[in-house]
Amino acid sequence: MSDASLSPTVAPRRFLSSLAELQWLGVAVILVFLGVTFIAPLAKVLLLSVTGDDGGATLENFRGLLATSSLRPVLLQTAVTSLEVTLACLVIGYPAAIYLSRLNGWRASLTSVAILFPFLTSSLVRTFVFIVLLGRNGVFNSALEWLGVPGAPFKLLFNQIGVVIGMTYVLLPYMLLSLIGTMRKIDHTLLDAARSLGASRARVFWTVYVPLSLPGVAAGAIITTILGFGYFVTPAMMGGPGERMIAQMVEQRILVMYDLPGAATISVVMLVIVLTTYAAAARWLGLSRLMRPQG
């Protein structure tokens, strides 16, 4: 569009300037809408976190939270869970993505359907089915007992293992989409070149393929970690009683304890952690790459 001025006709230029006006109108609509529905309430949340009982500005909420409450163990638990889930997704997804990224034709279509179908299905549904499958009398434990695995049936529900399994199932499609998107773009002539120069298959894999796939690994890992960090549905449904993850802490304070300043304070801690991670990742990988798990 920038070369419109080179056009011999005047009409496009006038047209474009009228479009520019319209564009500003559009931006104004966006700013008003997001300002009222998102920025202002978010600012109110930030404000709540630094408001004391007497209504004055204070950092007492943060001090209280860090000193006495259960924030620290929950924060640690949340971080550990999201990292465990990310690692599980990566270990399960990476080898599969190597093969799936090479497919063409109907196999590639089948692959994208098999990933997108769970990806688009409600996370409540996906968590519910895992509650059924992982139960004491569920398919998983029955299979283990039938195989004669010692110790079966295991307790896989309402504990940490269950949450990690459930969240891995829910978040694996993000990792797969990110990995496959990057691996598809790897130029296979580079691998052939390395082979013809005498490198072994293992050496080609570790020194050529893995480095070229790292952007996808990084994007997938960051998305999975951040989504896992703020996840609510699966831990709330599979985690059993108590506050296991930080999002549940916020929910409990709003709905059960009716402690809005407390919820706001935890939200701010969460926001700082997540946005710092995003900022660091965006500096490293670029924001647009992070936001497009489809690659």
């Binding site: 564009q23 519910f128 059924v132 499958l133 951040i226 960090f229 609510f232 929910e251 709003i254």
Partner: protein
């Protein structure tokens, strides 16, 4: 395994088998919902002793599930309208603007995706306290619309970037005014992106739990809230029945997306040169 197979070829075969196994593990649990939904007893089991449509009757005949479905449909439809229209405006500005501020606009539009959902839900809760009580369902839509906005913006921006600027200029120099160019050139060329964006934001809104949980009132209960409560208090095959309906909805959305994509591709091929 044949003796002629090299270790490398065998390795490839193992890798292929593993990859298909991972895909099967992604899809099979969802397929398992079908037999679960056909159970006859109140306990959930993948292999029910007796198949029946009892829980289908219970869900379809139950006023509570039906009302939850209609609430979800209503809030998600309005949410889709919000994310698609605001997303279009934002995508248009991001794609066509040369302003240095457009990076900031992009970050602003993507914000609801970067901020954890529970915090978006919290701020929507705060927003709802500022609004009259009878606007609660609309605030659920607004919050769900915010969650779909980043995805909608990204998809529509990608489809707008694909439009060749010379086509627009040609339409204008042939005498098209702003409305005609939008209706007959830009819209048909971007329609695939707009429809995909609408479908995705609809699914995001329809499945959204936390905003609806925070804003739920007696008489306003969406499907995810109802599912969430049911899982917590009474685990019955009714949830599997609802799940099967939700999966059918996803299949429908994927099919519609594919049909539109094909139609758009055909239109592009058959367009008069």
């Amino acid at each position: 395994m044949s003796d002629r197979m090299t270790p490398a070829a065998r390795g490839d075969r193992v890798l292929a088998g593993y990859a298909w196994l991972v895909l099967a593990l992604l899809v099979l649990p969802l397929i398992a919902l079908i037999p679960i939904s056909l159970g006859d007893s109140p306990t959930v089991s993948v292999l029910p002793d007796k198949l029946s449509l009892r829980w289908y009757r219970e869900v379809l005949g139950g006023a509570e599930w039906r009302s939850a479905f209609w609430w979800s449909l209503a809030t998600a439809s309005v949410a889709t309208l919000i994310s698609t229209s605001i997303g279009y405006l934002g995508a248009y500005a991001i794609v066509h603007s040369q302003s240095r501020l457009k990076g900031m606009l992009e970050v602003l539009m993507l914000m609801p995706m970067m901020v954890p959902t529970v915090i978006v839900a919290f701020s929507t809760y705060v927003l709802a306290t500022w609004m009259p009580a009878n606007a609660t369902w609309l605030m659920i839509s607004v919050g769900q619309g915010l969650l779909g906005l980043p995805v909608a913006t990204l998809i529509i921006a990608a489809s707008l970037r694909g439009i060749d600027g010379t086509v627009i200029r040609a339409a204008v120099s042939l005498g098209g005014d702003r409305r005609q160019v939008f209706a007959f050139v830009t819209l048909p060329m971007a329609i695939h992106g707009i429809v995909s964006a609408a479908a995705l934001s609809f699914l995001i809104a329809f499945d959204e739990l936390l905003i609806a949980v925070f804003l739920t009132r007696p008489g306003i209960e969406t499907l995810p809230v109802r599912i969430y409560d049911s899982v917590t208090y009474e685990l019955t095959p009714a949830i599997a029945v609802v799940s099967v309906f939700l999966m059918a909805l996803v299949c429908l959305a994927m099919l519609a997306g594919e049909v539109i994509r094909r139609l758009a591709a055909n239109a592009a091929v058959n367009a008069p040169q």
